[in-house]
Subunit: 788 residues, 2 copies
């Protein structure tokens, strides 16, 4: 079943030797790159870092993908799950010439090679795994588990693209990877590209065998078949035979993909899920490396994982062993006099942008087109006066997103992701514009499921996040909506994406991509019915640990504010935006003009709610988040009723980052402006959506920090009523009034009396809910008093 | 293939009707629990909460497990993946009588039933999903994905236990669940119990079909077979037939389990992995509920997910529909005059502790035995004087853990978990005492792999965490070691476990369990070789958001401190302990006596490093974390050399929680003690392991906070040298000296001169590493000067 001529095989084997040589060279050599003099200790790096074990397999795959691209003129994006195999990826970039094009100081000759080797995992050089600095890569691979979800994200809406994704057998043990196989149920063969997974069974992790390498092939076939794939196996340790077999299997896979796509694209009828091909490559870990070291087996074992020959400076005899290993690739047959790879090796790679290192899809900012956005104010909720109407903020946003989908239908570059919560989060209007992508079986009772669609729902936050990352990194736009508490599931993926963005911003050839937008709703204060497990606002704390120029956290207090903020986020680039807002019907505060003014500033005094316009401010009542805003205004209402002499200023915070000093965040308010809003000496009672200490952390350098008193979620919750949630955390209207009274001793006995009144109301509340099962009418029906 | 007599079937069907009735009653009724008068609006709860869709299937499973236990006298722990199916679980607890035993106010009669219905999802009542308050449960199910890993954790080392784990088809889409199937490669049929997964395909999530319900049975069989299981299917919507089939399938599964165990336990020879049975139950979502509502199909669709008939108070005609639904279970045939379930229904459950609600394994604190701990000081590293020796802290701990394993070998109640990092984290000594559990194929080259073992490694942090949680919740002990950066992968699982512990502490009948211990090493400062993706100390910030009495965060500065802290953590109960320490060779500061004194206090002045004993302190140099401690001491050394007149006090923090006020954390230092350590007016230069603002957050209320200057990780990293990592984040010795000088203007020109000298050394460093690839000898060889 071979498709490889002997001559082709010969060249492929030489190419593979060259790539392997370059991989070993990067790990070990700081000088004498072509071994043109005997290897001496001073040629060897002082610290040996890098992962050899996976490299020979990666090199083999890359070589054959080169051939496939040449033969079939394909656009291939290469995703390297074993990201620590960067020596292999870099070796191929060097051979195909892209590396020197992106980094001209790495010339193609011996001197360039010396630098190329030296820089690897060297201070001031390049990381030991694929990174934003790596041409052709959208996937870091430092933290394992996300390669296959990234691959699907890249393939969606790129019908001409083939994403080849190498999955390591270590990575395959992770949860996110284990469920990512099911991406094939969401891939449309007509309008999406193809994903070709290549499961590389080299048998070992750091120090253990891998699960999938130690089950029978029959069982593995069942597993992959059960995940919807048609696995093609290539196994062995004889290079020539493995190359032959791999060429054949790859051709078979490419034929199968082409057939599936042809059928879906050229024949009318319903698009259905197909059984896509995939490859399983079983080769020895550290193949072609040292067979033994100190009489212990190395090739084909976990001892090949990183640096098979280590501590060379303590074991001079290993210098000779390293030299023999390097010489086994016969570099003199691979490089010319000047040190350049021989032309026939270079010719193994395709030309121009067909080279995987030059793949434009890997630099999404090259391809991105602006998202067409409707005028957000067309979706405004009519707010005749503050509190004059109720609305569900996310429902308003749903109408806006519906039209985002419609306006961009032909560009096919916007998707909405969610773990089965789009409807629960009340964004239903989007279904007027699009269906959920579903390639599985359909039943007559199904609604809004179709092979085509802009909406993706799978009960895996990992998959949603991974898909969206892949989609954005290849030049598109999107939004991920989740329950607030469960976004913690992807904390680590958020971290890694933030790290990618930080690094990518420093890579001159990387173009800006669309921001990663989170809409967190069903938030901590409105998970009363779902109980304590669903109550967690801690994602914000994670987010603000990242580089401040990358991150934005928004708390729109109502629907019109949300529309403005969503529009801003969808326009932004190279950031991570977090929007936190409720989905329940709530009083609306700002008409669209007011919302625009307020959200543009990010923070401001709500004059209409304040009564300190003429006279000294007694207290600043600050609020951030929709529920804290509601409770603050209700508290202000109580103060006006019971303590009309108190001059209250209401400050609302939409953009959390305004609280930080400007040197910490680009949105940070200058100290002077901060002092103007918060005064320098009046008490501040601050009602905040999340864990209260975050406000202290952001504002501890501000003049009036000593008078800042923050209420927020203090990890008290259960299954109860919405108002009881705020009461349990002392952030309800009654507690807020008490907090104000406690800070205004001048109120004396009158204050004490009102304080007791508030205390009594809390007791009334507790009694009422246990009796009736819902909140008191005075709470549910409270509205901001209209003052005309 | 039936094993069910007609009489048995009849009783089972009645039991099932009773359980379904009780489930619906909990969701809807606040009064008139037995419909002994016509149903009126005031009998219906004002807020309808709960998840009906999964209940009929759960009730069927529970009924058949009851029968299995009775027939075979089994010990069964029931894990309910669809945790929102609490109405079903509670219904069965009520029927078997355990609920009234745990909660005597819920009497077994009509009045008890009224309270039982009313309390569900009602303020002051019980949550809408399984929770610590639920007898017989170790699994919350609020956040999906962890049921099967919990089940395996419970089964390890409980050879007599059968863990039946219902996996919802929604949950099955999550990553953690998708990889948890592979737990069977780590389960020893001789010395562990059995896990019987029951995949419940009811077809829908909240608003979407599920992936696994819409693939062909052949494909699903392949998937489950590929995961190493033997699936037995039961499908249908005819109750009698499904009951018959389920009884037969369950008997077949139980037979197969018994055969596997018998063979492994009674026959000599190597224990091997076996193909365990599992069940797949395909029944309609919301089975027996309303077929349609408003002409829309409900039974068998996603519309049954939560409350199929909603807004009853707005739609009075639905009251009749609800009544008809409830009456369809014919309650008058199920309950006696007094409202008690008929004796033959009660008799369906087994007796005493065999009832799943009374399963002692679900209240692990009942079973726990103290861990036998060796004397930790026997493992002390000899430290003749501070800095007088180097050691790898985790290697010392490895020797201690080795003997923990040995001492508890016969009790089989301690396990060590790690994502393939035990050796990399230098705990290798444990392999002298035990192997890694591995039921897969073995090769001659393998080391320390065996079916028996105390050490568990799989490249899935989710699985490690889930296993350990299950192990601890059922009364055992353990430690989870991970790279610091990647522990974020289980942020959300940590959150949920912390929430469980908080609630469990408030449940009077729950007994304390062993704490969840994390050893985080390969930490941010020593991931220079692995690069930016491996550098993240943010887990600490997540941890300190949880209820303070539950959490401890320790930074032992050296090996002896680590031994003391590890011993403390392994003795503790009902907490989550996080230990952060490096694995690299580092100078050792404290002999064992000093370590005990220092760690007992949790914070203290290091007199031997301070020179303010006679005279006024000029500056406090505080440090927390091993690398910050090293840099601080090196900075003190520089100050002594160049600015001997400066009186420095060194404060080291082991127990991070001491920084908080005592009202915030039980370990919090009283203000007076804090002021004594940190002074009330001297500058404090604080070198901290993690993100610096956390220290401000913890200490912002302290007297001297205004003079507190914190250095820490500010998200700067790459592949570089260890010392360059600290330099990039301004926490190195040179920057620390500059920080001190900047705060002591009295040093004048001399200070400015030394400041410049420090600046020059940083430049020297940058030059040196780019040239040599490792840190300057003066850095690598620096040791604290011995002063005798």
């Amino acid at each position: 079943m071979t498709t490889l001529s002997d001559a082709e095989l010969e060249t492929l084997l030489r190419y593979w030797r060259a790539a392997n040589y370059l991989a070993v060279g990067q790990i070990y050599l700081r000088d004498n790159p072509l071994l043109r003099e005997p290897l001496r200790p001073e040629h060897v790096k002082p610290r040996l870092l890098g992962h050899w074990g996976t490299c020979p397999g990666l090199n083999l795959i890359y070589a054959h993908l080169n051939r496939l691209i040449r033969q079939r003129d394909l656009d291939v994006l290469f995703i390297c799950g074993p990201g620590h195999g960067a020596p292999a990826v870099l070796a191929n970039l060097f051979l195909e010439g892209t590396y020197s094009e992106f980094y001209p100081h790495i010339t193609g000759d011996e001197e360039g090679l010396r630098k190329f080797f030296r820089q690897f995992s060297f201070p001031g050089g390049v990381p030991s795994h694929c990174a934003p600095q790596t041409p052709g890569s959208i996937h870091e691979g430092g933290e394992l588990g996300y390669s296959l979800a990234h691959a699907f994200g890249a393939a969606f809406d790129h019908p001409e693209l083939l994403v080849c994704c190498v999955v390591g057998d270590g990575e395959a043990e992770t949860g996110p990877l284990a469920t990512a196989w099911h991406g094939n149920k969401f891939l449309n063969p007509a309008s999406d590209g193809a994903v070709l997974p290549i499961l590389h069974l080299n048998g070992y992790k750091i120090a253990n065998p891998t699960v999938l390498a130690r089950i029978d092939e029959e069982e593995l076939t069942a597993l992959l078949t059960g995940c919807g794939w048609h696995p093609l196996y290539v196994s062995g340790d004889d290079p020539a035979q493995v190359h032959r077999d791999f060429a054949a299997a790859l051709a078979q896979a490419a034929d199968a993909i082409a057939a599936i796509q042809r059928q879906a694209r050229n024949q009318p009828g319903r698009i259905e899920r197909r059984r896509w091909p995939m490859l399983v490559l079983r080769t020895p870990k550290g193949w072609t490396g040292p067979k033994t070291v100190d009489d212990k087996p190395v090739e084909g074992t976990w001892r090949s994982h990183q640096v098979p020959l280590s501590d060379l400076h303590q074991h001079p005899e290993r210098i000779a062993q390293l030299e023999a290993w390097l010489q086994s690739y016969r570099p003199e047959e691979l490089f010319d006099e000047s040190g350049r790879p021989l032309p026939e090796l270079r010719a193994q790679a395709p030309e121009g942008n067909k080279r995987m290192g030059a793949c434009p899809y890997a630099n999404g900012g090259l391809l991105i087109r602006d998202l067409r956005l409707p005028e957000f104010d067309d979706y405004a909720v009519s707010v005749p006066y503050p509190g004059g109407t109720d609305a569900e903020a996310t429902r308003a946003l749903g109408r806006f997103l519906r039209d985002v989908i419609r306006l961009n239908e032909d560009l096919r570059h916007f998707r909405l992701m969610g773990p089965d919560e789009i409807r629960s989060n009340r964004l239903d209007a989007v279904f007027e514009a699009s269906d959920r992508v579903w390639l599985g079986r359909l039943l007559p009772t199904d609604e809004h499921l179709a092979p085509e669609g802009r909406i993706m729902e799978i009960l895996s936050e990992h998959t949603c996040q991974g898909w969206l990352e892949g989609y954005l990194l290849t030049g598109r736009h999107g939004l991920f909506t989740s329950y607030e508490a469960f976004i913690h599931i992807v904390d680590s993926m958020f971290n890694q994406h933030a790290k990618w963005l930080k690094e990518a911003r420093e890579v001159p050839w990387r173009r800006p991509i669309a921001s990663l937008n989170y809409l967190l709703t069903s938030h901590v204060w409105r998970q009363d019915h779902n109980g304590f497990t669903h109550q967690d606002p801690g994602f914000i704390d994670l987010v603000v640990n990242k580089k401040s120029e990358l991150i934005q956290v928004y708390f729109p207090p109502d629907a019109n504010s949300l529309l403005f903020i969503a529009d801003r986020c969808l326009r932004s680039r190279d950031c991570i935006n977090v929007i936190i807002v409720g989905k329940q019907p709530e009083p609306q505060w700002l008409d669209m003009d007011a919302a625009i003014r307020h959200c543009t500033a990010g923070i401001g005094i709500w004059e209409w709610a304040s009564n300190d316009q003429d006279g000294e401010t007694d207290v600043v009542m600050a609020c951030c988040g929709d529920v804290p805003t509601l409770e603050t205004l209700a508290a202000v209402d109580l103060i006006r009723t019971h303590l009309p002499e108190v001059k209250v200023r209401v400050v609302n915070v939409v953009d959390l980052m305004t609280l930080q000093p400007p040197e910490e965040h680009p949105h940070g308010l200058p100290d002077k402006a901060f002092d103007t809003l918060f005064t320098t000496d009046r008490p501040i009672v601050f009602a905040y959506h999340g864990y209260p200490w975050l406000i202290h952390r952001l504002a501890y350098r501000r003049t009036n920090h000593k008078n800042l008193h923050v209420r927020g979620y203090k990890e008290e919750g259960t299954t109860t009523t919405p108002f009881d949630m705020v009461v349990r955390n002392d952030i309800d209207r009654f507690h807020l009034v008490m907090d104000v009274i406690d800070r205004l001793p001048q109120l004396g006995a009158r204050g004490a009396h009102i304080r007791q009144l508030m205390r009594d109301r809390i007791i009334d509340h507790k009694r009422y809910i246990v009796e009736h099962g819902h909140d008191m009418p005075e709470i549910r029906n409270w509205r901001w008093p209209r003052e005309t």
